[in-house]
Symmetry: C2
Subunit: 334 residues, 2 copies
């Protein structure tokens, strides 16, 4: 049970084959993956969404998830943010020699479980092993393919003046959960990562209204960076109100203690949507009926003034500019 | 000019945006990539090939290529080995803090140049930065999408008894080139990696004959491992003759000196094909007319005896079993 991953597991030779056949295939098995060709052939017709992300989070296990769950959620969510139905994922490991096989096995199990929840299949993969000290335990890349319905035209450049800005729930949970685990911080109420596949929530939203103009998940850089990106891409102003932004008291407390702005802390199971004003309540209601949107709230609106700017009315009634993250307050958060 | 990559370049914040806008987009620009959404939306109809590979080669620059060229060729070739026309690539960097920006820029340039040669577009990407010591300069993941013609059914499990085995050129060049660079070995004739996109060669082969049953590029684990995989997947025996296998004298000399079997040394611009006997000469001729197939040769045939086994008639007239690589003679070759 204390077997370690060796360089030979990445050689392409016998041990690589044994790793794939004895560890990966039983956990991930499906008819497409089992063909074991250099690439997997699939039938596809329509508008295809394609995305990639590498995951370098440390530690690889954290409250509410692990690097495996994260690597499925992150890529599924990037697809869902175009309105796509995620279908297929690739999975590529870069493993540091010495990683416990049992830990790798747990992560593969977590990948399968999350893929099942999201309704996606792992159809192709790759494994590399580097010597001890040349990586940090495990890096994972997932790329993903989804299908975008004909009538859907969701984009970061499609926010419209008058749209309401809806946030799906509390911010900062993922960043603070990983940070706490990494630094050995303990809070009276333990903070869990919000890491979750959001494609089911997006499906409900799109059923409630076709007039969703923009969807994005505020991961690295947090809500502030995501809003700023949208303001620039759509060439509009965004106005939000601090008191409307859902935030767990324990996350607020941790941010106060650590000197972090929760607007800059990463989320992995949240989305922000720009929705035509007259449909906003309808979409909000649909979101609140879904387990990953229970705490959804309208946090602001899209305006014509000051294109490219995000401003926030603070709890104290003043207004401040919200900007992108500068520097890196929490490296390796995803 | 001596700027280094910092952790903040991977934060998702301002420096990440500057890196993408000032360094990556100018080199890689195309209308699909420039949308900068979480996923890229493409029109697609037909049979889709999907593959992924992470590249951890060290050193990142070597005679005949670099990690950028390799990461495009490797993924293009995995697609081409299904008979697909490669179309779109994703590109994901894991960068060790401290990498020279100039080196990253050269690699991005090399990616663009190779993508142009292969006729593929980089349509989506991701950048992560980890602290010094948590990775080794640069790891690259490329995933790829291609379209497979309706009539094409090429697979590692499709080798047929009677097929001829064609190899597209000399073996071991990539492995020995990287090894020499890494270990500071010098040979009288410098050995260059064969790193090349093979989709053009495959296209010529498919035009010469539709009866190509199996294609594979013998990368990690070398020709021996690839043949063994095909023998198992197709449940056939393979018989090859050592004297027919193209091998540069300097690669042979290096292998002798280092105690390596060239059959186990990695290639990055070679393919092996199983072709119906009556079409083999025709396919061979087509290959020899292409710059990446000039030294192509028929090296053996597919037989019914001993399914799952690969045997080789040696230069000395004896017969030996050819098996997968065991252990890892050349780690981080790709």
């Amino acid at each position: 049970m204390n077997n370690k991953i060796l360089l030979s597991h990445g050689s392409g030779g016998r041990l690589s084959h044994e790793l794939v056949e004895n560890k990966f295939l039983p956990a991930l098995h499906n008819p497409l993956l089992e063909r074991l060709d250099d690439a997997t052939v699939l039938d596809f017709q329509g508008r295809l969404a394609f995305t990639t992300d590498s995951y370098v989070v440390t530690p690889i296990f954290f409250p509410g998830g692990d690097i495996g769950k994260l690597s499925v959620c992150g890529t599924v969510n990037d697809l869902a943010m175009t309105g796509a139905k995620p279908l297929y994922l690739s999975l590529s490991f870069i493993i540091e020699e010495g990683l416990a096989e049992e830990e790798l096995q747990r992560i593969v199990g977590s990948i399968r479980k999350t893929a099942d929840e999201a309704g996606v299949m792992i159809v192709t993969g790759d494994t590399k092993v580097v010597s001890h000290g040349s990586a940090d335990l495990l890096f994972v890349n997932t790329s993903g393919i989804g299908i975008v319905p004909e009538e859907t035209h969701i984009s970061g450049s499609n926010a419209q003046v008058g749209d309401k800005i809806i946030l799906s729930g509390t911010i900062g949970d993922h960043g603070i959960a990983v940070m706490s685990q990494r630094e050995g911080l303990r809070f009276s109420s333990p903070i869990k990562s919000d890491c979750a596949p959001l494609n089911g929530l997006v499906k409900k939203m799109l059923m409630a209204s076709p007039n969703i103009h923009c969807l994005r998940d505020p991961t690295r850089g947090g809500l502030a960076t995501t809003l700023k990106e949208i303001a620039i891409q759509s060439n509009v102003g965004l106005r939000i109100a601090e008191e409307t932004i859902p935030l767990l008291p324990e996350v607020q407390a941790a941010c106060d203690m650590l000197g972090l702005d929760p607007l800059h802390v990463a989320n992995e199971g949240k989305l922000v949507a720009m929705v035509a004003a007259e449909q906003a309540e309808r979409v909000l209601k649909a979101m609140r009926g879904h387990k990953y949107g229970k705490n959804a709230a309208i946090i602001g609106e899209v305006v014509a003034e000051r294109p490219g700017r995000v401003t926030m009315k603070t709890r104290f009634g003043s207004t401040r500019i919200v900007d992108m993250l500068v520097g890196d307050i929490l490296p390796r958060i995803c």
